[in-house]
């Protein structure tokens, strides 16, 4: 539960692997370590987002509101990042994320996230990469959906 352990965890996340350890320490110190119990909401679709979460331990499921109720679209695990879209584009949360197991996250506030992205181009590129691949997946799924019958259960992102 110490700062140093959080820093080590962060360093193992590909997105942050190239960042100077002292900066990672600052990130860890200014971020809040937040634990969720299974079933607890990490964020809710439509809410205003002011933070992103990095999963340090455990798994979470992503749901999107659809006409026939919530649809599970992804399952996230260790080192995955949650909620960065809302804080990057200043839009409401695009999905609901619920802890599937006991979940340990690092809550990075909007300011800290921007600080990171502006200071370290490699992080910005990493985030871009992540977003682009999600966009690609979404496009693919849309194509499939319009071509064939609806499949509620998607593969993990």
């Amino acid at each position: 539960m110490t700062l140093q352990r959080d820093v080590d965890t962060l360093r193992n996340i590909p997105l942050f692997s190239k960042i100077d350890p002292s900066k990672l320490k600052l990130l860890a110190f200014t971020s809040e370590r937040l634990e969720f119990q299974p079933g607890e909401q990490v964020c809710r679709q439509g809410e205003r987002g002011d933070a992103a979460f990095i999963i340090l331990d455990g798994e979470a499921e992503v749901f999107v509101e659809a006409a026939q109720g919530p649809v599970r679209v992804a399952r996230l695990g260790r080192n995955d990042i949650i909620g960065e879209i809302a804080i990057l584009c200043d839009v409401p949360r695009t999905a609901t994320v619920i802890a599937a197991t006991p979940l340990v996250t690092l809550r990075i506030s909007k300011d800290a996230f921007f600080n990171l992205v502006t200071q370290f181009p490699e992080v910005a590129i990493g985030v871009m990469h992540e977003l682009a691949s999600r966009l690609h997946q979404t496009t693919q799924r849309l194509t499939e959906a319009s071509a064939g019958p609806h499949r509620p259960e998607g593969d993990p992102a």
Binding site: M1, L3, S22, K25, L26, F29, E32, R33, E35, E40
Partner: protein
Amino acid sequence: MEPTIFRFIWKYSLRQQLVILALTVGSFPVLYATLELPKIIINQALAVDEATFELFGRELGQLQYLLVLCGAFLGLVLIAGLLKYLLNVYAGIVAERMLRRLRYQLYDHLLRFPLPYFRRTSQGELVQMINAEVEPLGGYVGSALSVPAFQGGTLITILIFMFMQDWILGLAAVALYPVQAYVIPRLQRQVNELGKRRVRQVRRNAEKISETASGVVDIHANDTSLYERARFSEHLSRIFFIRFDIYKKKFLIKFLNNFLAQLGPFFFFSIGGYLVLEGQITLGALVAVLNAHKDLSAPWKELLTYYQMMYDVKIKYEQIVTQFMPAGLKPAERQLADPPADAPEFGQEIVAQQVVLEEDGELVLDGVSFVLRLPCHVAMLGNAGSGRGALAQLLAGLLDPTGGRVLVDGKDLHTLPESVLGRRIGYVAPVAHVFKGSIADNLLYGLKHRPIRPRPADPELERYLHEALASGNIALDPFADWIDDAAIGVTGPDERLPAMMRVLRLVQLDHDVYLLGLRGTIRAAEKPDLANGLLRARQLMLQRLSADPDLARLVEPFDPDRYNTNASLAENLLFGTPVGDTFGPDRVAEHPYVLKTIRATGLFEDLVRIGYRVAATMLELFADLPPEHEYFRQFAFIDPEELPRYRALIQRVDPEHPETIEEEDQRRLLALAFRLIPARHRLGLLTPEIQERVLAARRRFRADLPAELRGTITFFDRDSYNDALSIQENVIFGKVAYGQANAAVRVAELIGEILDELDLTLRVSAVGLDFECGVGGSRLNLSQRQKLAIARELLKHPRLLILHNATDALDAAEQAALRDAILEEFRGRTVFWVLNQHEWASRFDKVLVMDGGHVAAFGRFDQLRNGGTPFGKLLAAT
């Protein structure tokens, strides 16, 4: 109000002035005698040729005679002094009463000003006039008759005395008075004229200052603070130059006065000396006249000053009074009268007949006519400038029509006293005023029309009321119970709480008040029941937490035998709440007793070492950030300005040998360590072994606390209520854990459940009702203020409610809910609602559309919604 100050004095203080006069006149014989005696002493008692004297038929030796005369002189001086003392006190009281009366009259007029007048008059000026400018008037009133009588009388007494000694000397003494009496007032008038200009300028300053205070946000937002500084400086410069001229003239007068006064002795020595040498008068007489002349200059000066003051005050009074007598001043009767027996119930109809309202030569309402059967819910629409706001204020009786009239149940609305209007009608402005005082005070404000239950009579109260009457003030006790319980349908103070909570629920302010209550503090000694109830809540809380591991992780309770990892080191050591500043967060690391305790438990060096590690970590983390970065505020233990100092400190000291570090540096490092919260900062510095020793220090700190420090800390004690903690903290009796998602929300829910179970929610809300709103409600947000103002009107239970864009400060969702709640509450009563939300109109019985001061449309929503009508256009535009 009286047009001149002389009429004012004559009307309200003639008797007192006569008493002052009588006291003054009574002192003259004594004064004369004190002048006469020295002469007798010199000429007779000290004369060498007589050996015995006869006094009241008794023979006295020379020495005895001298002693008797000196004794008499002493006695007379004493009597004269006492008379003067009496006179001064009495005149002072008269002056103060008249001043109080004048201020009260001005305030009375202020309350009767027509509303538009406030737009033209600045608050600062009003304050300046009522407070500062009338002050010299009071001084004058006390001396209006007494000074001319006393000083004039003294002057005449002395002159008579001098003429009786020798008429030539007398003439010499007054020879220059005509010159003075002619020249000085002329110069003085110029000074007074400057004085008046100064007064006007000071008023403008007051206006400027109050404008700065109310516009300060816009000043900063526009970067015009330099401009404002320059403008203010210009105002000050005007005062400066006026004063400069005043000084030049004033001291010229002083110079002339002194010079002319000093000419007197010149005449005495030359003429009087000649007469003594010639043997025409005695030396004793000349000494006495010289003495008398010395006394003469004082009253003469006083008379001149009095004349200057009288002239000044006369003008000042007229200047102030004309400001307080605007056209359209409401008759006092309309505010003082009780409701007449035939007051309308607002139950039949409201008829507007050709209502015209003119403001500053502009037609705001131009022939408004309508007939409305009551009860009815009316939506009033129209663009800004259409006259809808003015009509709302006019219907509330706040504005009087220039022409036409409004009939309510057949009675002219604008002839009704405020005791009818202010109780039957509720009015909420777009930005309503919240008064200084608690939330409860503000809610009950609309019920305080007349004192209902007096305070038990006591001499203090008697004296207060008597004195109020003596100054022509209203003899009502503001500390009596003014709350009209009958109006809210309750029988006494105990039943007010549910009524208040009901209206707060209607305006959705109940939860806010409950939260304020949770954050509020109480004194267990004053509310033992509530404190006991909250202790039960604390026990329940602890039970729930220990029963459910899912809840247990949310709160870390205060346990005397365990280190609380969600609390700071300082909190863990003190294990209590500091009262006052002695052990406050910024001071605790310096307190000798704290230092003594941690030294005694061998913690001192370890904590200094930990402080060193904290400082080193902070330097590592924050060194590269610009000093204005907000992380410093949010996270750093060290202010950015302090960083270099700590860097130097870190390089200077040797953490392995804390005892070698200078005392000042030790304190700094210690202060850092004291702020560590393990669960939050996760630095891993406070090892279990250190924590164990902090627990030992905690026990020692409490056990050995010197008696004189007992009042500075309230220890955490599971079985007693802690007055220094908020209600919420008392129930939780621990720290909400860091790092647990939604911990604060879930703990709040848990507290809510427990308080509900124990039936304490209402009592906690009652504590919230005692929350002080601040000046103008500044401690509440805009939305809360507006809700409070609406709740105040709802509680009053008016027959007619007028809302003037009253909900614009609220969230959209809240607005809709509030609208429905109010319309439901007022079923069977009348509502006029000036709306910006045209789409709401369908929920009202009638729609009234204003345009250019006319009624453009009036009727049912479904009749008006068609495209052709003005309402149709308005609706289409949204």
